[in-house]
């Protein structure tokens, strides 16, 4: 082993990251090389200097943490509820459109809204051919496919609503649990305060004797 190799791996040696065999080889070189020994000593001094960095003192506020967690869980519940309502609204709109055989199309600067039987086309010169036929003209197979899709959408909406209810119930239980934990904290604090006041009163009596009613100070 030469000095360059040793100095490249010196941090690993000093931090115990090398295999015993490799470490032994490096220790052998250190025993024979004064320059590498001096280098090793300098790195170890610097390690001790690094430990001079200040250490902050922190105390996590658990009641505040529980309140923040409760707020976050309420926000999640509201998010899932909004998502479910949006999906339900979209599914209902699609379902309504299918039931009423609603047709909405743009046709040369006109918005045409028709339901039931297909409305007569407004006579506009050079009307482009429609890409999709009106719903009323679809054959039974396609209609059955669309009804299956509507049914699936309906099931999805119900599943989402059930999921929201389940999450809602779970979140409420969690909120109740957090509230009970907070009350427990408050009771403990009140109990400790009362005990401290009793101890102080006892110490006062022990030191100065009981107060007499109407006694002048």
């Amino acid at each position: 082993m030469n000095c360059t190799e040793l100095r490249e791996q010196l941090p690993e040696l000093l931090y115990g990251e090398l295999s015993p065999e490799r470490a032994a080889i490096m220790q052998q070189h250190l025993a024979e090389c004064a320059a590498c020994r001096a280098e090793s000593a300098a790195v170890q001094r610097m390690r001790r200097q690094l430990d001079a960095a200040p250490t902050p003192k922190v105390h996590v506020d658990l009641p505040r943490l529980y309140r923040a967690a409760s707020s976050a869980q309420e926000a999640r519940t509201r998010h899932w509820r909004r998502l479910a309502y949006t999906a339900g609204g979209l599914a209902a709109a699609v379902f309504l459109a299918m039931i009423l055989r609603l047709e909405i199309r743009l046709d040369q600067r006109q918005i045409i809204l028709a339901w039931g039987q297909t409305a007569a086309a407004v006579p506009v010169p050079e009307r482009p051919p429609r890409a999709n036929p009106p719903l009323a003209a679809m054959d039974g197979a396609k209609l059955a496919t669309m009804e299956n899709q509507i049914h699936l959408l309906d099931e999805l909406v119900h599943a989402l609503a059930l999921d929201v209810d389940t999450r809602d119930q779970r979140q409420r239980q969690e909120i109740v649990r957090l509230a009970l934990r907070l009350q427990d904290w408050q009771r403990q604090t009140a109990s400790q305060r009362a005990a401290t006041e009793r101890d102080l009163a006892a110490l006062y009596v022990a030191q100065f004797g009981p107060k007499e009613k109407g006694a002048k100070q």
Binding site: Y15, V43, A52, A53, T55, V58, L65, A68, A72
Partner: protein, 191 residues
């Protein structure tokens, strides 16, 4: 001494917490709040933000209970969250040098002169670490202060261990250069 260095990763507490024991969570917080605060401070988070970010770390831990898997060490999972919180904070704020007003030096010294020198050294170390590029700073803090081995840091950061070792060696070299004045003065003090 980092908690990981002493190997005190109590597997029973995280398991109890995941099963719904609130006292287990509180015990975990009390055990890990100082190591996490130290970790955040040494990642050059502003001193007045350490307490708030520490609070944020444990809030994320609490909310992520359902996602915690006992396959890995709790410490690794916790430090991953702390690292993400520190990175998010750095992205939100422009880094400013922290003050030592709310912090204590690692060792107390009897005389006023020695205390002043120790304070100077502590400030110099804090600044030298803060001046390191973020990737070097992270591996330095995790290896030297938190006692994580390079393989564990590799799993935590998703960076190969060989890359981490190179960064660590480079970080030590930079720090040695930055703290050279203090090393010279300590050498002169020796008989």
């Amino acid at each position: 001494m980092g908690a990981a260095k002493t190997g005190r990763d109590n597997a029973a507490l995280p398991r109890s917490w995941v099963q719904g024991d609130p006292t287990a969570f509180e015990a975990l917080v009390r055990f890990w709040e100082q190591p996490v605060a130290r970790f955040l401070a040494r990642l050059a988070v502003e001193a007045d933000q350490v307490a708030d970010l520490c609070q944020e770390v444990f809030l994320r831990v609490y909310l992520a209970r359902d996602r915690y898997r006992e396959t890995g060490a709790f410490a690794t999972w916790l430090y991953r969250i702390a690292l993400n919180v520190a990175r998010d904070s750095a992205r939100r704020r422009r880094r400013t040098p922290g003050s030592l007003a709310d912090q204590e030096p690692a060792s107390s010294v009897a005389t006023a002169g020695a205390a002043s020198a120790q304070h100077e050294l502590a400030e110099a170390v804090a600044r030298a670490i803060a001046d390191l590029p973020r990737p070097m700073r992270e591996v330095l803090v995790l290896r030297h202060y938190e006692g994580m081995r390079f393989e564990a840091i590799a799993r935590l950061t998703g960076t190969p261990a060989s890359t981490l070792k190179s960064r660590f060696a480079a970080a030590l070299a930079r720090l040695r250069s930055a703290l050279q004045a203090f090393d010279d003065s300590s050498e002169e003090a020796q008989p």
